[in-house]
Symmetry: D2
Subunit: 380 residues, 4 copies
């Protein structure tokens, strides 16, 4: 594939530039018979919209999703679903020197080196707006997975120096102890301006972000995802491991610099006797005492919650003075003004969730061919 | 693909189980005209062989690579290269209860859930021996990349609680300051029993591993890789980003729980003004003052060294008593005896290097189609 | 892939139904730097438009192509090109019983069996309008190939019982003997209402089609394609042979029932001594005396013109009474009225040309990775 | 993919040259739980062995298949199945001028143009021996399909000027009328030295082939395949149509110059009223009165027998004098001696059958993801 397609069965192909006519995605391989309408998708697009808090760009992005194909009488037909969000904000404008110099931390230089020139308007294809297609496609994946009993919980675990005190296991324990339901927890997270599950941490972070903005600087953070309800057996051994495909999916989001599953980097310093998850029986099913594996063994889901984290670098667009070069190979100093998020982590939460869902639904369809028994059940 | 194939152009398909007749790989898409013989591959296989130090299993694995196709008169022909290592150690043996219970930290349970049964001999397909095919294929990728001026430096950065004090940048600075050449550094690493570049750390680690072995326990660690000489422009925007493909490649190695590029997880806590790499001119080329990006911007190589790290969990096979269940759904206690590595990190170093090389060569071939200029140069 | 994507490097993903909001294609992997505007694409779409002669449906299809992404300042950027043709003719309408019964020769029954239901409006995804995306993508492929010195000549060789007397070799001989240029020949074909290169045959065919229409019946035919200027060496041995990929490309067009290369089915009755193409030197290059191979040997282009033929079945929509069943499993008689082409061959000519171009450009990009020499030329 | 891999789910990767160490295939994506042993595969390899009649090369090819992985305790495990046939006949030998000149009708010239040089021993990768991997993989596909109630009947329909008088429909009618069973018909075909279902035609053909051999010439022919028992609904609309994938599969076999489905090229001259297959009810299922569609509508199986034909060119290796050039660009005359088949059609029958089976099993696995209902059945 030429790089804009993700997935093997449930396959998305995204297109569009920040300041082109629109941004879109073609979803191919969606099973027929799924009830689907534009509001199913809009709900997710709204989660990545800016302007929800004062820590995201005040740009107005209406980002209205339109379904152009693949749905008939309210249900998916099995044929490709074309989704488009037309850009509102295409007015001709002075991009100043942005066309001629390379912003540090951006892909300006590498695009020029690869292709000989680039669409410099608002980052072009490497803009964060590219994720609109992922979220539109991911919304469909999540709807399918919800129907199969699978739920997603994704949130900001850390922003700048602030980290929430609860682990993923703590959050899940509260659900298991009926302190609140998974839905309530999700609603709580969605109501936080930074999509943090812990309000005290969120407030501390907001103070930190105020400082960043005063210093015309930016911050990064860590997003954590939990997937519950995945049956055991999903993921292919060797190269298409569930964790390997998740790693690629998440790392394909701009600004991600790290990814880990379960105990992650901490496992490197642990001993085997601590890190192994002992197994016991519960409700007549094997069950793991701990979840250092993060729900995946040998690349295949083990039925425990899938837990992963992604590290996002700070937004590279800052107003502070920076040193760089232009395409005439002159050294210059720049200061990037305009409407930029001092932190993109909150808006990226839904992107992470969608990429995880796209990965999982694809491997669940793949797994249908794992045994002769599955084939015989369908074809006789 | 059905999971045992990696790559789009330079494509490897691996096969084989730990205690089957052999382990092998088919390399398809290797450019014609590369000088290749079995010793080119053996050199790399020898780096993953056990028995090099007392911290790896005393099993004797001859692991002799044979080329069955694709090479004629000492050069690759452009047709698939079939490589096989026949297993020496297939004698029928008592696997005891291993067939019936699920070892914690292993893929026994997930294979059974996925396929209904499993080849339980020595881990079957999920054995570490599966990596033989990756290394054999990767050896060819590295030979190609070397001919294009690209070099690899891969080593154990941390084992258990010990971390080497030098950063990747420190090591590269010594090379740049002519304290030693890249080759000398590589030779130094290869001469260390744990493949650590720092001898004092290596000695401390060896003491730690002695303790582990006494306690019948095991350790994990972090492998770091540096790729120098990559031209700018490699990697496809959006899904087939160089870092996304690397993440998948490395995460597809059993026991990997984390992956990061450049500043990695540390970037999440940094500010934009610190994390952005300023650019200046050097030898009339743009050059980065720092390398928090790890050589990749927007998924495309920027010409700086590519630096990445992978976290490995401790070997799950330990002699200490563990709690688990068997396939009759009974809770039992087990203690795994046999010849197991207390630490697999040193042997995994070459596997990481090979997976990185496979990723890079594939995207370099892909990049040939990036511009009309490339096509016109070839076809006129 | 999930079936709506074609190609590995130069990759098109089509979407859209006959009576949905629109029909479109995403072209991924197009090399950067190709001058491209909407009229480049419109020119080809106009060739598949109905209403050019009285033998095609009098439906008005404006079919205006819009470029939504991937082109900046008049050149392709290397990122996906999204092309859309919005449907004009979506007014709500009475589809009568078409939703409930299975038209003979159509995919109504098979879609229902596969997906459980179908978008019955105008054939939905199996409509001939689906080829709009192919033609839009193919127009770009042809523009690239033209810049590399490759030309296409595609025409109706036979319709119903009428076959043109000239072989492909005859037509090429006239060009070689300077009776007319390739361009003039192409213009001549494009000026014929049936896209036949022989005017006498065209007139005979028109009489035949008048009869068909009077009898409320329909006709099929054979389309022949000639590709000149292809360098030797294109196509991958074994599965991705140039002829195998062409066969798939052409056979993926609805209504195609046969495909052949060079001597085709006639080769089956020939003797080796007749069928082999002897080789001599011409302009210091090996040159073939005859072209029974159709320009391809062992799946790889040999530099001679590529010649192939595709057989199209008669349009299945006819007004004559037919026996069929409905989805209540009752046997019924139907007569299909409405605006249907009595012959689709003339409109399919450009579709065949586009699918051939898509196949060729994809394998030409693939071939860039064939030798170490190519890689070394680019990367040093 | 780099050209040696076929299929998306049930995926084969073949390797090996005519006179290298061996020929093999890796089958990835085979469902777990299929009983499989080497004799299952040998049975099919024996059908492509030479020496069965005097019309095939007297070379002795033992062609013993070995299973190296993926089978445990007599059943497939779901992991890759590596199959190898070691070449017996690798003795160093004088290949004379074959290395330096280009045999007409062979791929010598195109391989040299593509790769710069070639393995000239016995055709190298473009040898007919390459099909061993296809047959070994196809044998497994057929075993799976047989378990799902699907049967294959493949035979020589025509050789040189002789064509059997029975159509595929005639043969199936005899089965339906209980004149003989499908198995008896298959056994009858397998017992014929030319794999023709009609003994009189076979005898006439044998006389013709005697003439060919006397004249040191060669013959081509047409192979016909019938697949019965395929459920309706198999095949993906648009590019991965069942007939498009079959066309590619069959056209990827060396020497194939034409392919057709159902009425094939004859459909081009028919009228719609004749070519459409009317539908009636039978055993409470829709059933087609005729089968001009060849069992496929809109690229999707309709439940009727799938009927297709492939045209094979005459063997290009002939002892008669031929004109060609050498790689010093000199014009020369050659006469090819050695052990060559005057007709390869009989030996190719099993190859055609296997490629058809590989195509079908792949699309049947793909079809498992067609509806939400399938997913819900498996995952709840």
């Amino acid at each position: 594939m030429a790089g804009s397609t993700f997935g093997k069965h449930f396959q998305i192909t995204t297109w569009g530039e920040s300041h082109g006519k629109g941004i879109g995605v073609v979803v191919d391989g969606c099973p027929a018979g799924l009830p689907l309408c534009e509001s199913d998708i809009q709900k997710f697009l709204d989660r990545r919209k800016p302007g929800k808090s004062r820590y995201s760009t005040p740009r107005k992005e209406a980002d209205k999703a339109e379904i152009l194909s693949g749905v008939f009488e309210g249900r998916t037909t099995g044929t490709p679903i074309s989704l488009v969000v037309f850009n509102q904000d295409q007015r001709s404008r002075d991009y100043g020197d942005i066309a001629t110099y390379y912003r540090p931390g951006h892909a300006d230089y590498t695009f020029d080196e690869k292709y000989g020139f680039r669409d410099y308007r608002g980052g072009g294809r490497s803009s964060g707006r590219e994720t609109i297609g992922r979220v539109a496609g991911g919304a469909i994946a999540i709807k399918i997975l919800n129907q199969l009993g699978i739920s997603f919980l994704t949130y900001a675990r850390a922003i700048g120096p602030v980290t929430i005190p609860q682990t993923a296991e703590d959050l899940l324990a509260c659900v298991q102890n009926n302190e609140y339901s998974l839905n309530e927890l999700q609603e709580h997270i969605l109501s936080d301006p930074l999509y943090m599950p812990d309000s005290i941490s969120s407030e501390k972070t907001q103070e930190y972000l105020e400082d960043c903005m005063r210093e015309t600087d930016s911050a990064g953070g860590i997003i954590e995802g939990i997937i519950t309800g995945t049956p055991a057996g999903i993921g292919e051994p060797v190269f298409d491991k569930l964790d390997a495909n998740l790693a690629k999916a998440i790392f394909s989001i701009g600004a991600v610099k790290g990814f880990e599953i379960g105990a992650g980097f901490a496992a490197a310093a642990a001993k085997g006797s601590d890190n192994n998850d002992a197994i016991h029986m519960k409700d007549s099913k094997p069950c793991f005492d701990t979840n250092h594996a993060g729900g995946i063994l040998g690349g295949i889901s083990n039925g425990a919650p899938i837990v992963f984290r992604a590290a996002f670098k700070p937004t590279p667009s800052i107003a502070a003075t920076q040193h760089t070069v232009n395409n005439a190979k002159e050294e210059i100093s720049i200061s990037i003004h305009g409407r930029h998020d001092p932190i993109i982590v909150p808006r990226a939460v839904v992107v992470v969730e969608c990429m995880a869902a796209l990965t999982l639904v694809d491997l669940m369809i793949e797994n249908q061919g794992a045994t002769m028994e599955h084939l015989q059940k369908l074809y006789s």
